[in-house]
Symmetry: D2
Subunit: 294 residues, 4 copies
């Protein structure tokens, strides 16, 4: 699972419901790209807005239509420990390779390092597939730092971490504490190249849904030592990222619509970008084509 | 529904499951107090940790055993608009008088004032019972201020607001913008007396589960103009609050155990207070008895 | 010094220098109002932007021209303990009645409760006039809460506190810990009425420079038990406050210009409001006249 | 001025006063190291705690005793624009090569991008030496991001930026916007290696006062392509950094005392580390010796 980009895919929505046909369409189209796998039911997949049945449908559908070499990572976090365990087991039964688990966050004051440690260990003990804690303070308001992740990295069923902060000191500490085999994925696109230098295993950035082969290409250039070319691609991809990510999951979907995938609207309370927003996204995508053509 | 204290009750848990017998026991005991009603499935009720079936059981049970004069407010928020609507309708069918609805908060950056306005209007339009937005930045990381609440107060099915901030400027603005009939409840105990002066309609503080008649008594003293006596009671109740609320929902439950209710443990990832914590809570409760006996 | 409003006065600036003539003009005009005294060299007085000579000139000038019944409070904080002591002593020699001392804040991580305690005690020991710590997290990024202020209130030369937070739980705790004779001033205008209910000694709000007799009148109505009239005045004065305080020290100066005082520009990097800002301020002041005339 | 480490040196204090003899001693000792120059009157130099005379003494002394190849950067920020200009001019007269200028921060709400832009341009216009804005939100509470720095980079007398955030996305954006000749220094040691990869010009980290030749050595290894050796050194130096920087300027001074420089105490309200803190620092320094000896 090293040296891979695994985008957190969107959940297609039609009439305020998750839609299996559109999901199949997107997966079959993305199978032709060089992504290493699919992360389903992540933040960008609007996981917290889905019903339980929709979640199970999404897992099954992606497992069924993903080409065989693609890894399947499933977001299985709920606020309660028991709910997280239940969903993790179901995901494993449906063929998930890894469970990605964001931390509980509603009761912020109670989410101390010892309480989070116990939560993750309880989930890892109960899970039949390897567990990857997901640190995303932008959504949760809580940072899981080296103290916690370093300790969790010693558990036999906790195989890595996804970190959305873009904090290189933290990623470097995860690497030092977790050792060479610990999987570290970043979710932060503007620092992806720096994160590769610091030693991450790969990327799980929402924006990697957009032109996935360019993101994989940038990574491959880095690994081949073509740093200048990697940096040239970064200078093209990061401004696109800034524009699209302003609109969150709805921005990714709007860009997918433009690029021939099914994007569609997000679930309420999320909103699709306005007409001006879509024009801004289109213009950002045009600049990528110009930049890459040059 | 004015001049009332409506505590957000705990959800009793046995063997990591919500327990109907213990809930019945607590409600029947609390019926004998002067609380104006019950708020079920609030933050203190560990709502985000419950399954859907448990939520429905809690509503039904409290409706069945609450004495007839007690108002029933039900927390029905989910992250998605459609999920919130579904649960609000079920709560209404089960006899809820009001729906209390915390704001979606996972996608923090997208929870702009217009998006939250549309969310609440969609819920209020679909609901057959009056809707009360719940502002609790300590849990959600988002403040719903006068701009949003003032505008929502104009909707015919949005009858009030619960605010957990203890921000008097905000409460005063809610009163000015919402008018005299808009219901304003505070969830912040250390500023409850000041909030009454500012014009709130009542209190929905978790700590009001602990010695509810003292909290009602303090409020009644305020309304009768016995400000010195109200303040004397505040000086006794606020230090108790500081101690117990450090331990959150588990602290309330520990204090309930001491006072003859069923408290029990919270659901994981929450934890019961340690032995030292329980001793500290017991000592804080003893000081209240001393203070009130004087 | 109880039951008084002591506005933090502006420092008039001409040609990017503090100007004595304009200061004399303002003080002589404000002597005719019911303010209880003057706070010079506060945040609104742009203290951190003045040279040492300007600071001394401001103290001397206000002492000379203030009518005899007006109390003189002087802001004497510097980042260093020794610098604060030196300026406090000079202020005392020039006739200050009290020294108001904001906390050092550049080295935020080092400004722990014990370090701030030692700082304030060192200043209080060296000062020949009573010392008033000033808590203003909006400027300093640090809150001095009940733990610190309660402990400082026991020092014989620390006579009170100014608090800019508008946090009623904190003000109530200061009163409980400091006792009845401890001076507590609020700097937060939108919660001034609530703060009087909670037991503050008076107000030191920048906006009290604007229509000071209305602010004093609102306070007097509160003390006489005319709560409805006090609240009516609050509903007129708070919206004005919101508009003017958006522009900070420059907004206060612009409003002073409109009302016949010398306002003028603030020192750079502060800016005077734009033309649109001044129009907005003028309109807010007009609404006060309409409201009070009604 | 590229590819250099320029430590922000400590200001030696004896009897609560800046001390010239000790400063001379330290500079003469540090002249023998491979540092590229000295940053005086930075945060670590306790600049905000010094009198004006002390500041001038420090500049003169370092200019006099620094060996000729060492660059002299002087921190000349005050809160006011005019004060910053005055001190910048004096520093230039005393031989400073560059002025490093932290942003005004007391009036946080007024420090908008346009106001900060005007401030920096006014200073750059008035200064006879090149100006380097210094971004340090940990001290100031304000981030100066790519919008502001990119625009400032176009001014002929603004030659670079020092950034203390350790935010690689920001540093990369500075490089893209400022061009290849724009000087970018990081003040964040745990991300120094990543920052070199991102393209910074060098380091101005306080911890570089401690074993400066190891920091220079790590940088040189990076430039020579000895990444594994650079990373091995980072794994030794970063844990030391975490321990010492907990104690801020006082921690640096304590480590200097251990290593044969004059450290001494910081000025109040800062404090020297406790006895336990000094033991912890000594132990961290011992580990560096062990690690480097290996």
């Amino acid at each position: 699972m090293k040296n891979k980009i695994i985008p957190p895919i969107s959940t297609p929505v039609v009439d305020e419901k998750a839609n299996q046909e559109k999901l199949k369409f997107n997966i079959e189209k993305m199978n032709a790209t060089k992504v290493g796998g699919y992360l389903v039911l992540g933040s960008n997949g609007e996981s917290v807005l889905l019903t339980e049945n929709e979640k199970l449908m999404v897992i099954e559908t992606v497992r069924q239509y993903a080409s065989s070499e693609k890894i399947l990572v499933v977001g299985t976090a709920e606020e309660s420990t028991r709910g997280t365990i239940t969903l993790t087991k179901k995901a494993a039964e449906l063929g998930a390779d890894y469970a990605l688990i964001g931390n509980p966050n509603y009761f912020k004051a109670a989410m101390t390092t010892p309480n989070l440690y116990d939560h993750y260990v309880a989930v890892a003990e109960a899970s039949t597939i390897p567990v990857i804690p997901y640190n995303s303070p932008g959504f949760t308001g809580i940072n899981m730092g080296p103290d916690l992740i370093g300790k969790l990295s010693g558990h036999p069923n906790i195989c890595g971490v996804k970190d959305g902060t873009g904090n290189m000191a933290q990623l470097a500490a995860f690497r030092r504490l977790g050792g060479e085999d610990f999987l570290i994925f970043t979710g932060n696109a503007p620092t992806f190249l720096a994160a590769l230098f610091v030693g991450v295993s790969g990327g799980m950035m929402p924006i990697a849904n957009i032109h996935p082969d360019l993101w994989v290409g940038m990574m491959e250039n880095y690994y081949k030592g073509n740093i200048a070319e990697a940096r040239r691609m970064e200078a093209i991809l990061v401004p696109m990222t800034s524009v699209i990510m302003k609109y969150g999951a709805g921005g990714i979907k709007a860009a997918m619509d433009i690029l021939g995938y099914y994007g569609g609207p997000p679930l309420m309370p999320l909103k699709a970008p306005s007409r001006e927003g879509i024009d801004e996204i289109r213009s950002a995508l045009d600049k990528v084509e110009e930049g890459m053509g040059a």
